[in-house]
Amino acid sequence: MRHFVVVGVLVILLAGLTYIGLDTIGLMPDAASAQSIPIDWMWNWQVIAISFLFSLIIVPMGYSLFVFRRKKGDTTDAEHIEGNTALEITWTVVPLFIVVAFAYMGTFSLGEVLRADPNAMVINVTARQFTWTFEYPEYGVVSNELHLPYNRQVVLKMESMDVIHSFWVPEFRVKQDVVPGRVTEYRITPTLEGSYKVRCAELCGTSHAYMENAVIVASQAEYDAWVSEQQAIAAAAQTPEGQGQIMAVKNGCVGCHSADGTPLTGPTWFGLYGSEVTLADGTTVTADDAFLEESILDPNAAIVAGFPSPSVMPPYQFTDEEIATIIAYIKTLK
């Protein structure tokens, strides 16, 4: 009997300490969406259950190893206890109820996560190796950054141009795969202003690690200002270079080719036009119109030194006019 009392007290003590410890460390990142509340609520209950069950097994096990270890010189066997049916039924039936309760709580929290606002703003999302593109149909804006207003539900309608990707912002908690041939939806209500990143969570090829785009949650006023600014850019973009910039964003070019010299998966476009480019085979070539056109249509025709061969760039089909606008845009990047 004494054994059971000691073990019971230790179980409660260790369970409490484990839970408090885990809670103090803080296991989850910032919660930045309304959907993260029911998820974190569920998670918290699971941490409680884990702390308790961990102690329930570890304490009597550790206690046995210490108290019931063989004494020196003892060669006899232990007490002959074969089992206890009542006990077996108890630890089958009680967990059954706990499991069903947790499954019910899980159902409830999923319902909260999926709660749809009929007035949610629609944003079209295109995923491709290895970047994300966001199109705001209400405003005619295309961007490779996802800007969201504070506290308004958005529904992302997501399509993939090539392989399976997965949309995940850790601070939003929710994750959704993007599957070729279908449109998947992702509903989120941002509740914390700040800068985050959408990180592709489904292995999508060599540069999967770098498939990350900025997500910016701002106040309605700041968001509106960003939209007007983007619209102004789009309106001013009747020039070829303006059209080229839109093409470059829409087709995901900017996911791998930076406009400011930052090294990404592909060579930067900053200062590219007219420069001397060293190729992987050691030869040099001038980046003129012909070279750029050839590289856009057939990325493997010439590999720039220091970049992967064969090229990881997906095949694109553009009209001559479209290519001319992209080259016009590249020319402006100096």
Binding site: L27, F54, M61, D77, E82, W91, D162, A201, P308, S309
Partner: protein, 630 residues
């Protein structure tokens, strides 16, 4: 060297090499006649490589002699029922043998070799992950036609599948060696099929490794299309390797089931079987009936690549999510294939070292079957974010959480077995206890993944990676080592060194905790799976460095084990008796076991685990009948 080149292994590998060239050459010749292209980046074209891979496997089987009795039968020639072993010493293990004990050792040693290769791959990419940014797997690296990022993906993917194959071979090794001894059989039911099941795994492992040199593949071990449709030709070698390895698993399982059903000793009814036999049966039922699905799903992608069949191509009316259903219909039950034998080892060894009966024998036996059966209806919990029907996720959440119940029965029964025991701590027991704790952590971190809403956050993160390394180490790796330390004297008549064994345990266990706790910690905070590089802004560099160091320490501990294993075969302390004072039949006769097992058959006259019951016996040896019954 001459002796080695004459072995079945060397001949098989040589034939596989020739068979590969022959098959590839044949397709290349046909393509040339048809006016199609005849060479590609890796010399042969993809169809030629696939044909070559396939014909290489057949050539291996012919060359090694694994099918020679069947070939002789087909030609109307007789072969003796039992082959007398023509080889002794190390040579025995490099030739085709029909003795289940030799095959068990062959399986185990190949499993250890593959664990070492898979572990080496892990250490390579773990080193890359020690800091953010790319250290040595850089973009301008070019090795085997792959840049650093592609090579990272290949190594990470191969680590997964090579470890899976090594686990399948490892459990087959333990089951093959132990099950006939536990049930008092002379051998497995189908000795030639048994040898075939082992030998076919060797060319399968070669195919898997070939993928590394043929451009690799960047899909992870799951091989999801459309990514796997676009991957280099290495992808096909991977598919083919898994397909062939599946044969080993299916046929081995069939053999185990037939053996246990038909060849038990007199008096050994179902409830008097050693508990490990129950685990072997449960695991074999899954392996026999589910393995086909991974073979099928990979074969469909192979055909999509080779013949343009659009099974998973939405442009041709296919569906990429369908692949995931087919794939996980095997690959989830497969994890129970990996862990059930390990849990069986825990249940088998615990009473020996606690000197107390196994608490609730029937409940533990039934829980193995329960896990095996429930395991068939939980597969879609791997797909909660995949875009499958939203409402279908709920029944899979309920069914998955139900797995907790039979698993819980095992834990409670183990603790109750230890309670009031007289516990000793030799090396096998340390690994059994380590297995319980590690598997507990794996088990407790499972339900959050099964709960849809929380899984939306956890899916595809390092939390999952930490979780399943816990389940696999607790359910396979620790019990596997426990079994090797425990049955080593039976196989060799010598003991492994206890000091080195304890060093192995005390080095591996804490390092492993650092590894998986660290993985889960950063996973919750935003570390994705399967990435070669991570955002320095996340602040994970210090944790990753700790994980890498822990990984190296685990590698070091396994090296100590391997040294101990091979050194003890020759120089271990002699131990031909009942080393662990066990009631089990195989320990009632001297070690090592003779070729056809028990010279006298035995009869079961009591319960297997009646430790502490005065005068009770599990088995009684009966003198062979005068007529010389065979």
């Amino acid at each position: 060297m001459k002796k080695f080149l004459a072995t079945a292994l060397a001949r098989g590998l040589l034939w596989q090499f020739a068979g590969t060239l022959l098959g590839a050459g044949l397709v290349t010749g046909i393509r040339a006649l048809m006016g199609l292209s005849v060479n590609d980046v890796f010399f042969f074209t993809e169809p030629a490589w696939v044909m070559g891979g396939f014909s290489g496997v057949i050539a291996f089987l012919l060359g090694s002699g694994a099918v020679s009795d069947w070939v002789k039968w087909a030609r109307g020639m007789d072969t003796p029922e039992h082959h007398e072993e023509p080889y002794s010493g190390w040579e025995k293990y490099f030739h085709v043998s029909l003795d289940h004990k030799v095959i068990g050792v062959q399986y185990t040693v190949v499993a250890l070799a593959l664990i070492s290769i898979g572990g080496l791959f892990a250490l390579i990419f773990r080193t890359e992950l020690a800091a953010s940014g790319l250290q040595f797997l850089t973009q301008d690296l070019n090795l085997f036609g792959q840049n650093g990022l592609q090579l990272y993906n290949t190594l990470m993917s191969l680590h997964g599948m090579i470890m899976i194959v090594s686990i399948l071979l490892g459990i087959a090794g333990i089951i093959n060696y132990v099950v006939p001894l536990l049930i008092g059989a002379q051998d497995m039911a189908f000795p030639r099929l048994n040898a075939f099941s082992f030998w076919i795994a060797v060319p399968a492992a070669v195919l898997l490794l070939m993928s590394l040199f043929l451009g690799g593949f960047d899909t992870g071990w799951t091989g999801y299309p459309p990514l796997s449709v676009r991957a280099p030709v290495g992808m096909q070698m991977f598919f083919l390797g898994v397909f062939v390895a599946g044969w080993s698993s299916i046929l081995g399982a069939l053999n185990v089931i037939a053996t246990v059903l038909r060849m038990r000793a007199k008096g050994m009814n179902a409830m008097r079987m050693p508990i490990f036999v129950w685990a072997a049966i449960a695991t074999s039922i899954i392996a026999l009936t589910a393995t086909q699905f991974i073979g099928l799903s990979f074969q469909l992608v192979m055909f999509q690549r080779l013949f343009g069949m659009g099974f998973f191509d939405p442009a041709k009316g296919g569906n990429p999510v369908l692949f995931q259903h087919l794939f996980w219909f095997y690959s989830h039950p497969a994890v129970y294939v990996f862990v059930l034998p390990g849990l069986g080892v825990i249940s088998e060894l615990l009473p020996v070292f606690a000197r107390k009966p196994l608490f609730g024998y029937r409940w533990i036996a039934m829980s193995s079957l329960g896990i095996a059966l429930v395991g068939f209806v939980v597969w879609a919990h791997h797909m909660f974010t995949s875009g499958m029907n939203e409402y279908l996720r709920l029944p899979f959440m309920y069914s998955t959480l139900l797995v907790a119940i039979p698993t819980g029965v095992k834990f409670f029964s183990w603790v109750a077995t230890l309670w009031k025991g007289k516990i000793t701590f030799p090396t096998p027991m340390l690994f059994v206890l380590g297995a319980i704790v590690v598997f507990l952590l794996g088990g407790l971190t499972g339900p959050p993944n099964a709960t849809v809403s929380v899984d939306l956050h956890l899916h595809d993160t390092y939390f999952i990676v930490g979780h399943f390394h816990d389940t696999i180490f607790g359910g396979f790796v620790f019990p596997f080592f426990a079994a090797l330390y425990y049955w080593f004297p039976k196989a060799t008549g010598r003991r492994m060194n206890e000091t080195l064994g304890k060093l192995h345990f005390w080095l591996m266990t804490p390092s492993f905790f650092v590894l998986t706790f660290g993985m889960m910690r950063i996973g919750l905070l935003g570390m994705r799976r399967r990435i070669a590089d991570y955002d320095a802004a996340l602040g994970f560099d210090a944790t990753h460095l700790a994980l890498t160091i822990a990984g190296y320490l685990i590698g070091l501990s396994v090296l100590i084990f391997i040294y101990n294993f091979f050194a003890s075969v020759k120089n271990g302390e002699k131990a031909d008796g009942n080393v662990w004072n066990s009631r089990s039949p195989e320990w009632q006769v001297p070690s090592p076991m003779p070729a056809h097992n028990y010279e006298q058959p035995f009869e079961v006259v009591g319960e297997p685990y009646d430790y502490g019951l005065e005068g009770s016996q599990y088995v009684k040896f009966i003198a062979p009948a005068k007529s010389g019954h065979k």
